[in-house]
């Protein structure tokens, strides 16, 4: 588990996901869509993640499962960083 990465993702979620719950206390495996993230909010989350982590999500990665939890997002960011390295 990468605590720093997860904390940065929590900050992005706090700023952009419009969740009715506190992103800081969200379980890393919690389903973000179930927690109240709308599809439109997920666009903002994606764009903010690209800004913060200097990555770009290709269309093939714009899947529900990529954005459904903090853990899933962390996995996607790590994968994109590996590809860019």
């Amino acid at each position: 588990m990468n605590t720093t990465l997860n904390d940065e993702i929590r900050q992005v979620l706090s700023d952009h996901a419009r969740l009715p719950v506190n992103a800081a206390s969200l379980d890393e495996h919690a389903d973000l869509f179930q927690a109240g993230m709308s599809s439109h909010a997920s666009v903002n989350v994606m764009l903010a993640l690209e800004d913060v982590f200097d990555v770009e999500f290709p269309d093939a990665m714009l899947r529900r499962s990529v954005f459904e939890s903090i853990t899933a997002i962390a996995g996607a960011i790590s994968e994109l960083r590996r590809q860019a390295a």
Binding site: S39, V43, N44, E50, L62, R63
Partner: protein, 128 residues
């Protein structure tokens, strides 16, 4: 023949916030050139188009297929009626679902925009 329906509601203020936060990146990632041109910068029109994309995904029964928002595009027919156009992975999903036609209706009022998509398929499909 089988019919499926999808519906979505979008806050116009959230579209305005997204434009303020992400500007051109947001617009170019979500909307086609034609959608941007047809909307003439009016956020309620953009919100209605976003709702149409999501409504289409619901009608299609999208699972975990990966495709961008521009894969589903709202165009204006000569008579002014909105029409849906799919490309790439979204078009392939529609093909797998046996889609014969889409009908889309858009509306906006009091800070919200909504869309309904009716999808006609040639045969029954089990959508998981």
């Amino acid at each position: 023949m089988s019919l499926r329906v999808g519906i979505d509601l979008v806050s116009v203020a959230q579209v305005e916030d997204s434009i303020a936060a992400h500007g051109e990146r947001y617009l170019s990632r979500v909307f086609s050139e034609e959608e941007l041109s047809d909307s003439r910068g009016r956020p309620e029109r953009l919100a209605a188009r976003f709702a149409a994309k999501e409504a289409a995904m619901k009608a299609l029964g999208r699972g975990d297929e990966g495709f961008g928002w521009k894969s589903i595009e709202v165009k204006r027919a000569d008579n002014g009626q909105p029409t849906l156009h799919l490309r790439g992975e979204a078009a392939r999903l529609a093909q797998r679902r046996g889609v014969e036609s889409f009908t889309v209706s858009l509306t906006h009022e009091h800070g919200h925009a909504a869309a309904v998509v009716l999808m006609e398929t040639t045969h029954e499909h089990n959508i998981e």
